[in-house]
Symmetry: C2
Subunit: 232 residues, 2 copies
């Protein structure tokens, strides 16, 4: 019953259908469960986690390397650290919906481990490791597009103004330019203000962006201009 629910989830949400189900089940099996059920001869997720960790590191690195072609190495490293971390991976694990399918031993279950971020991070990495072995990296990339890259594109990890920095770096390759962000509108309710800013380069008004903070609105405007530049 529960297996079927998992297969349906992966198939409908992510178009994933495992060939080797042992890999899928191992990715979801904590050592405490494997130890309590030795008769099943099921492997725990630890080796898959080792591999999946590196699969995620490379794919996230490649994605931001290509998405931000002028961002300096220091900021790429900082951005990657915000994405490749326990809190983010635990969140992705929950968003995918793997949490309820994890096989835990009784003691761990009672201790509430099913909701522990470090365990959810491990399972997310192991799942990606299993997917990589079973279907290859192209399928992993398709999965990460839905699960991680979407959040990167939305600027959720870009505390450090990555889109603004990237735009500045790209524009300055042609020489010095004057870049301003001007608030042109404030909207919203008592609870929340929505700022709209306009990007102005050398006096020319270009794209606009909106957000619940000026910084976020500026990021949006920079991101739109980058998309415009890259699709010219």
């Amino acid at each position: 019953m529960k297996d079927k629910k998992l297969f349906n989830l992966l198939a409908t949400k992510y178009q994933i259908s495992f060939n080797n189900l042992d890999l899928l089940f191992s990715a979801l099996t904590h050592s405490s469960y494997a130890n309590e059920h030795r008769e099943l001869k099921i492997k725990d997720y630890e080796r898959l986690e080792f591999l999946g960790d590196a699969v995620l590191e490379l794919n996230v690195s490649e994605y931001i390397f290509k998405t931000f072609p002028s961002l300096p190495e220091g900021q790429l490293t900082k951005l990657r650290a915000d994405i490749v971390c326990t809190a983010s991976f635990a969140r992705f694990c929950r968003e995918v919906g793997l949490q309820e399918f994890i096989r835990l031993g009784n003691g761990e279950e009672k201790a509430g481990s099913r909701n522990r971020d470090t365990l959810l991070e491990d399972v997310f990495e192991a799942f990606v490791g299993a997917l990589y072995l079973d279907q290859g990296n192209d399928k992993v990339v398709a999965f990460l597009k839905q699960v991680i890259y979407y959040h990167i594109d939305a600027g959720e990890f870009s505390d450090d103004n990555d889109f603004k920095t990237e735009l500045q770096e790209e524009l300055q390759q042609q020489g010095d330019v004057q870049i301003d962000y001007q608030v042109i509108q404030t909207d919203g309710t008592d609870d929340q203000t929505i700022f709209t800013v306009q990007l102005v380069v050398d006096g020319h008004p270009l794209t606009t962006g909106s957000g619940t903070s000026k910084k976020h609105a500026e990021q949006q405007a920079a991101k739109k201009q980058l998309q415009h530049l890259h699709h010219k």
Copy 2:
């Protein structure tokens, strides 16, 4: 002249011919050189190093994951840490012969940076990053076979008895077995002793191995038996 020597080296030793030479030259360019020669508009290696680091991490992880199919995660992690580290990468950089082609600023050259391990590590990573972008991961794997995997197969990073552990894990999947390593010969000069050991499993003599220490000889014997098991 120097460029031609580099192209020849890569072509003859590694069957590598870059399509995008900017990538190759960037991988060999330290920021001090890029800063001293702004008119060349050449990028330094820092972004490529960021990417190459992750390319190496995944490929080494995958190789040892598959070479040691029963090694526990903890030992895989330790083995990877021995391979993916400054000293090893600097050594590989020297063995490939990239050292003399690095473009350094005058100050760095005078300070002896060309022989600094951390710089050689960076260049090795950047070169792999450039190769990955220019030719794809299959070509990277072919390169790493010659440059890194060869050393792994020779047991050079296996301080922790990885082949012996792997063999033990594989043999014990069928139930308890008695594994012994017996010294059957000692040879050598005053300076150096060569030990030959025999692997004995449940009283049956199997493979032998030789080395300058008992441990190394045991590793060799275990490795031979693993090859025998995997090729059955």
